[in-house]
């Protein structure tokens, strides 16, 4: 009976979500971005000039023309191809860093939520220490001492500093679920903790965490671009929106198109992710489900 109930609820949620344009539109944008990230070569080559590294200084800063819908950057590279390949980088950093922070948050948050007392206070203090660092400042300090800054090292740093807020949420959520009757029943029945956590606690505690993490992807992408713009994020030869925005802003006055397209893609991506997160939140809000 219990299981049946949950299934109905889920179906209700997805029907409600699919009826909402605030979910469908950003969802479509995100699906498109993910497809672009998976096959950047195909999309970059749509206009016949798909090599993001091919540069011809003779076309430096030229505007859009047939075959080059977004024009050329300072080095004479096709901006369309660069923006497309930049999508892959941003999505990769966003996902890697978020998955990493979520993994850390799940482990620590669950431990803290499931074991009140010493474990809980230790982990909570640790979380507070990490929350005490301003996120970007910490990332700048650490990245400044990293010699090779590529997608993996930047994701690692962003992930390592991004987990505390998530961990707090996991802890609160786990603690709430632990007090529910079926968990208490499972404990009384003598089931091993691991089984209780994996089978009963986590599946019921994870929804708010997933929503927050989704929104967090947008924040990570913004953070990566900000860091790259400041010169401490990704480096050549990685293709990244942050690098494109930095190069474009240096020459904004003479060739604004170099800044506009990568900025627009960045804004659209982040906006879509945040809208999607919001739509998920309002649909899964327990008060509205009741």
């Amino acid at each position: 009976m219990f299981r049946g109930d949950r299934r109905t609820k889920r179906r209700g949620v997805s029907r409600r979500l699919l009826a909402k344009p605030t979910f469908v539109l950003p969802g479509m944008v995100i699906v498109a971005l993910v497809v672009i990230s998976l096959f950047p070569g195909f999309f970059a080559g749509l206009f016949g000039n798909g090599d993001p590294y091919h540069a011809d200084l003779a076309y430096s800063q030229d505007g859009p023309c047939p075959g080059h819908p977004f024009g050329f950057d300072l080095q004479g590279r096709d901006i369309w191809a660069n923006v497309i390949y930049g999508t892959r980088t941003s999505v990769a950093v966003g996902l890697t860093a978020t998955v990493l922070s979520m993994a850390i948050a799940l482990v620590l948050g669950t431990a803290a939520g499931y074991r009140p007392g010493l474990v809980d206070s230790l982990i909570t203090r640790l979380t507070e220490v990490f929350l005490g660092f301003p996120f970007l400042l910490a990332a700048i300090v650490v990245l400044n001492s990293v010699s090779r800054r590529d997608v993996w090292s930047v994701s690692l740093v962003l992930g390592v500093f991004g987990w505390p807020a998530l961990a707090r949420l996991v802890r609160a959520s786990v603690r709430q679920v632990c007090q529910l009757d079926y968990v208490v029943a499972a404990r009384v029945a003598g089931l091993p903790s691991r089984r209780i956590i994996i089978r009963h606690v986590l599946p019921n505690a994870i929804t708010p965490v997933l929503i927050l993490a989704t929104i967090g992807i947008g924040a990570v992408i913004v953070a990566e671009s900000s860091l790259t713009y400041l010169g401490v994020g990704l480096q050549q030869p990685t293709i990244s929106w942050g690098l494109q925005i930095a190069a474009g802003s240096r020459n904004f006055q003479t060739a604004p198109h170099m800044l506009v397209f990568s900025s627009a893609f960045l804004s659209l991506t982040v906006l879509a992710i945040i809208c999607l997160g919001e739509a998920l939140r309002s649909s899964l809000d327990p008060k509205r489900l009741a």
Binding site: F135, L136, A172, G216, S226, G231
Partner: protein, 536 residues
């Protein structure tokens, strides 16, 4: 509530990002208008934006040249056309190129009223040359006899044996080897050769923030070095040389000199320096108030001496021929720099423009062929440069040229800052690296000695020395006439280029913008003669 937390975290990080971005472009531009601390004729005061200053003692400064230039009168001055003229000196002569007699103009005084005498020079030079004093410009005195005996921790001598006073306004300088270029070494930018009054040596610390010079302008008040406060100079009424047309020079110091551009645009600065990458914007914003000035400085790419891939000269030549310097110049600098055709800057007297020949020209097919003959170039070629100095675009373009035209894998690699650049250079973590030398006086001698002899200060980006080259330089230095000396330097360049130790890239132009008040701005070697500025 949970979501509020997220939004708060996110907006906090966004706000921080924004603040950082704003700080990056807004730092230092605080005061809206120049303050002319109670001057009678504030109308003829000018305000100049400069980068941070380290010291104001001429023999012991690295970044104060802009301030010292109006405070002191050099013995010799070189103007923008390369014309050499005497300022504090009446004559500087030598029959053999070894012993030089310097006669000073009589009746010139320091700002404190003290007479400028032979002792003013001898004392200042001895103090700068004395190794244990550790003055930054100590190296400038190296050609004078007795310099070597004054170096080290406990030197044998306390004074240069090559200096001797003849009378109050005459002294002789004996060099260790004959050098026809010596009068040029006494020109504007070699600040260790400036005179210092006796009063200076009574309290050198006080002198360092309130220098007393012999030039057309004097300090109005001691400089706040810790706070990097404005430096205000006023015309020195008893200056015996050409009287300036302006009454006051206010130097406003910028931690990030790029900010000065914004203030120049707003009209609060009369003179500001512009980065090469901003040429197009500056030309558009300032029109004919944008001034590119030929500078005696050059850029090149050096090779890692421990990387066997560059042992074959054909590889080095191929890399050089694969760079389209004209295209890089047009795209990155809007044509404001000068593609290199020799090892030294074309504004040097007697410079052999074009001596590098086809190896400094763009011949992609020939380059590929040459590289193939030499067995190709495997692996990644990292081009190390200093990050944060606004040179990202140039090095990216150079690396792209190499990659694309030779089919190799060249990557422009920025360091975190200059210290990191030095660290990576010393650890050999690069394939090619940024090389640069700004000559302190307009002679090929300076650049060739600095970059291509073992003891030169610019050798850390060429790693090249050759006894044959040393001999040729000495031969040119001791030539009986300047013309013969220039011919000698051409031979030096030929010999160095036969080994092709570097990839010459650009000769520099320093770029300046001025306010509408400025009528003319004479210059020396790429820097404005602030004291000679005239207003409309």
């Amino acid at each position: 509530m949970k979501t509020n937390r997220t939004t708060a975290v996110m907006s906090a990080s966004c706000a921080l990002a924004l603040t950082l971005a704003l700080a990056a472009c807004g730092g230092g531009g605080g005061d809206p208008a120049p303050t002319g601390s109670g001057t009678p004729s504030a109308d003829s005061a000018i305000t100049v934006g400069i980068a941070t200053v380290d010291h104001l003692t001429p023999g012991n400064q690295e970044t104060a040249y802009d301030v010292l230039l109006p405070l002191f009168a050099p013995l010799v001055s070189i103007d923008e056309t390369g014309q050499v003229s005497y300022v504090q000196a009446e004559s500087i002569d030598s029959s053999d190129g070894i012993t030089w007699t310097v006669k000073l103009r009589d009746g010139w005084t320091f700002h404190n009223g003290e007479k400028v005498t032979a002792d003013s020079y001898i004392n200042a030079w001895n103090h700068a040359a004395y190794g244990p004093n550790a003055w930054i410009n100590n190296f400038e005195l190296a050609p004078i006899a007795g310099y070597a005996e004054m170096q080290g921790e406990a030197p044998a001598a306390e004074a240069l044996s090559g200096l001797s006073k003849v009378d109050d306004t005459t002294f002789t300088v004996e060099l260790s080897v004959a050098d026809r270029q010596f009068p040029l070494q006494l020109s504007d930018a070699q600040t260790a050769f400036y005179p210092m009054p006796a009063a200076a040596f009574e309290d050198l610390d006080a002198y360092d923030v309130n220098p007393i010079g012999n030039g057309p302008f004097q300090m109005t008040e001691p400089w706040d070095v810790a706070g990097q406060g404005d430096i205000v100079l006023a015309a020195y009424p008893d200056y015996a040389g050409d009287k300036p047309a302006i009454s006051q020079i206010n130097y406003k110091i910028y931690i990030d000199i790029a900010t000065a551009y914004t203030d120049a645009l707003a009209g609060t600065l009369d003179v500001a320096n512009v980065a090469g990458s901003k040429t197009a914007v500056a030309r558009e914003d300032f029109g004919d108030r944008f001034m590119p000035l030929d500078a005696p400085s050059v850029d090149w790419l050096g090779f890692n001496p421990d990387d066997p891939r560059f042992d074959d000269i054909r590889v080095r030549q191929a890399l050089s021929m694969a760079i389209d310097r004209e295209a890089v110049n047009d795209a990155i600098f809007s044509g404001s720099q000068v593609p290199a055709t020799s090892l030294t800057s074309p504004n040097m007297p007697g410079n052999p423009d074009g001596i590098c020949g086809e190896y400094c020209e763009f011949h992609p097919d020939q380059a590929k062929e040459l590289l193939a003959q030499a067995g190709g170039l495997e692996g990644s070629v990292e081009v190390l440069f200093v990050g944060g100095w606004g040179q990202e675009d140039m090095f990216e373009a150079l690396a792209t040229q190499l990659s694309q035209n030779l089919g190799i894998e060249a990557v422009a690699t920025p360091s975190t800052d200059f210290a990191d650049f030095q660290a990576r250079r010393d650890a050999g973590q690069y394939s090619l690296l940024r090389g640069h030398w700004g000559a302190l006086y307009a002679s090929q001698q300076n650049t060739l000695r600095a970059a291509f002899t073992a003891d030169g200060l610019g050798n850390n980006a060429t790693f090249y020395s050759n006894p044959e080259v040393d001999a040729l330089i000495n031969e040119a230095d001791s030539a009986p006439t300047l013309e013969a000396a220039y011919e000698g330097y051409v031979k030096v360049q030929e010999r160095i280029l036969a080994d092709f130790p570097t990839i010459p890239t650009f000769a520099n132009r320093f770029l300046w913008v001025t306010s509408e008040r400025i009528d003319t701005m004479p210059s020396t070697q790429g820097s404005p003669f602030y004291a000679r500025i005239t207003l409309k």
